[in-house]
């Protein structure tokens, strides 16, 4: 069963991007000359309704997200979260909660500014600027609910920065895109002047180009930190979903390029303009569907856990032990031989599936072969401990050098997975 958090995240992302996209669209895209303002009066009412609804959904889904996260952080059932003070602890004592408080404050101020922002009369510049900043805080703050934070060193600055820019660019493009489609629909019916549609389309085209460039660069940075290798992209569910997301993004960019190069110029001529407006509206809808699919993938990616049990690193094992991590598409093994020098040793093996969940294995045979003598391999059945690790005692390692370890796993399904890798055995100390 799918984690309800996936749906809540998807709804919250969509609502946030749409609310912020409405602000960017009204302030940066929609023309403000007197004639065009009159022409877009009815459209502005619709934009206000969309902004109000999406902001309301954003706040409600944000509350659900907070509750579900508080439940998973504390292990308490939902009904106990308020009586036990867990919600308060999460809000005031975690980075996620602090981000939610700031985003909630931004949403309240955003709501206060909306009656002025969406009227035909041009609001003061400071109101427009402030609302753009509030929409940006509401959107960029989502980075503190994802994988971009928590690292140290350069990544602690580079990754959140890239993620914030990624979210803002997504709101400016994906959030404003359906609103452009709405405007073009009005224009095709004659409810908005063609002059207003032309200005808006050209402005959106510039905003879209800047957003796509930002999404591309920040997406590369995010992928670098979250996947970082071909194996991680192709061998894990997380990586494969990320590849689908990238493919969808490239498809949307292709449609946007067609719009920019072939369709938008036709909008400039009165005879072809109504057809061009309808084509652009259809393409905007296609891109919006692509964007919704991307949001669903993002919602799922954020809940996936590459390592939800013991994640053991070489640095955590004894200094005199030999350690190797063996990775394949079918399974992974962390092999520790202790002590890692000649003599008699004990091997400990932890098995993972491709997503770092414990592998469902019913038996395991462990083999060690001395350097340059694979025929002299010793193969022994391993015993499993209560904590899931497999152990093999009294392994004789008579010589130093590059040994080969073999892990033959019998899965619950009966299928065999064979992993092998070299491991260095030092001389006796």
């Amino acid at each position: 069963m799918t984690d309800p958090l996936v749906y809540v995240r998807a709804i919250h992302f969509a609502a946030t991007l749409l609310a912020a996209g409405a602000v960017y669209f009204v302030v940066l895209v929609l023309p403000r000359t007197e004639a065009e303002t009159i022409s877009t009066t009815r459209l502005r009412k619709w934009l206000a309704v969309i902004a109000w609804c999406s902001l309301a959904v954003c706040v409600v889904s944000g509350a659900f997200w907070l509750a579900l996260n508080a439940r998973s952080m504390s292990g308490q059932p939902l009904v106990e979260l308020l009586p036990q003070g867990v919600i308060g602890t999460v809000l005031w004592q975690t980075e996620f909660g602090n981000a939610w408080l700031i985003r909630f404050a931004a949403a309240v101020l955003f709501a206060a500014a909306m009656p002025v922002l969406f009227t035909p009369k041009k609001p003061p510049l400071w109101i427009e600027t402030a609302t753009v900043i509030l929409a940006t805080v509401l959107t960029g703050g989502l980075a503190w609910a994802g994988h971009a934070i928590g690292a140290s060193g350069v990544e602690s600055v580079a990754h959140p920065t890239a993620d914030v820019l990624h979210l803002i660019a997504a709101a400016a493009w994906l959030g404003a895109l359906p609103l452009l489609g709405l405007l073009l629909g009005f224009a095709a019916r004659g409810d908005v002047s063609l002059a207003a549609a032309r200005i808006a389309t050209i402005r959106f085209s510039m905003l879209g180009t800047a957003s796509v460039a930002t999404l591309l660069v920040s997406g590369i940075v995010n992928t670098w930190y979250l996947a970082g290798s071909v194996a991680a992209l192709t061998d894990t569910s997380y990586g494969r979903l990320l590849l689908i997301k990238i493919a969808l993004f490239l498809g949307m960019v292709a449609v946007a390029a067609v719009n920019r190069l072939y369709v938008t110029p036709r909008l400039l001529y009165d005879d072809s303009a109504p057809t061009a407006a309808l084509t652009l509206r259809r393409n905007a809808l296609v891109e919006t569907f692509g964007g919704v699919a991307i949001l669903l993938i993002i919602a799922k990616l954020g809940t996936m856990t590459p390592a939800n049990h013991l994640g053991l690193h070489a640095g955590a094992v004894p200094a005199d032990a030999a350690f190797v991590h063996i990775h394949s598409g079918e399974g992974m093994a962390d092999v520790t031989i202790n002590p890692g020098h000649t003599g008699v040793a004990r091997a400990s093996v932890r098995l993972w599936d491709e997503d770092f969940n414990p592998l469902n294995a019913k038996a395991m045979t462990f083999g060690v072969a001395p350097p340059d003598a694979p025929a002299k391999a010793t193969n022994r059945p391993a015993a499993q401990d209560a904590d899931g690790a497999w152990h093999i005692d009294n392994i004789e390692l008579p010589q130093q050098g590059n040994w080969t370890v073999t892990v033959d796993i019998t899965l619950g399904s009966g299928k065999h997975v064979l992993l092998d890798a070299p491991i260095v055995i030092d001389p006796a100390q």
Binding site: M73, T94, F96, G150, P306, N308, H313
Partner: protein
């Protein structure tokens, strides 16, 4: 185009650990180790910064009784807990970490005090 290809090749060929969750990076005493004298604390370092409100360590003896001093101290990506005076034997460490990106990880390992 050549630059784009170079960027993509660099991205695909690079190998950076995918660590969006708090994984155990260093442990004192070390995982599965035997220490000659009783340690005064268990200190764990993780690959991500931790949320103090929801990250804990528990240390138990062979009989399952708590031998830690009850209050886990969390700072950045590390947490530690003081220990009571340990006698020779096997002890189990159970940790639960909530990384600041809101994901929980947990694990268990043992260490021995004494020379057997």
């Amino acid at each position: 185009m050549r630059t784009l290809f170079a960027v993509l090749s660099f991205l695909l060929a690079a190998s950076v650990a995918a660590e969006a969750h708090a994984m155990l990076d260093h442990a004192t005493p070390l995982v599965g180790s035997t220490v000659p004298t009783a340690p005064h604390e268990v200190a764990l370092t993780f690959t991500q910064n931790l949320e103090a409100a929801f990250s804990t360590i528990e240390v138990t003896d062979g009989g399952g009784s708590r031998v830690d001093q009850g209050k886990t101290q969390v700072s950045g990506n590390s947490m530690r807990i003081g220990l009571k005076a340990l006698t020779p034997g096997t002890y189990k460490v159970h940790w639960h970490a909530l990384s600041v990106d809101t994901h929980s990880t947990q694990g268990t390992f043992s260490f021995q005090v004494g020379g057997h």
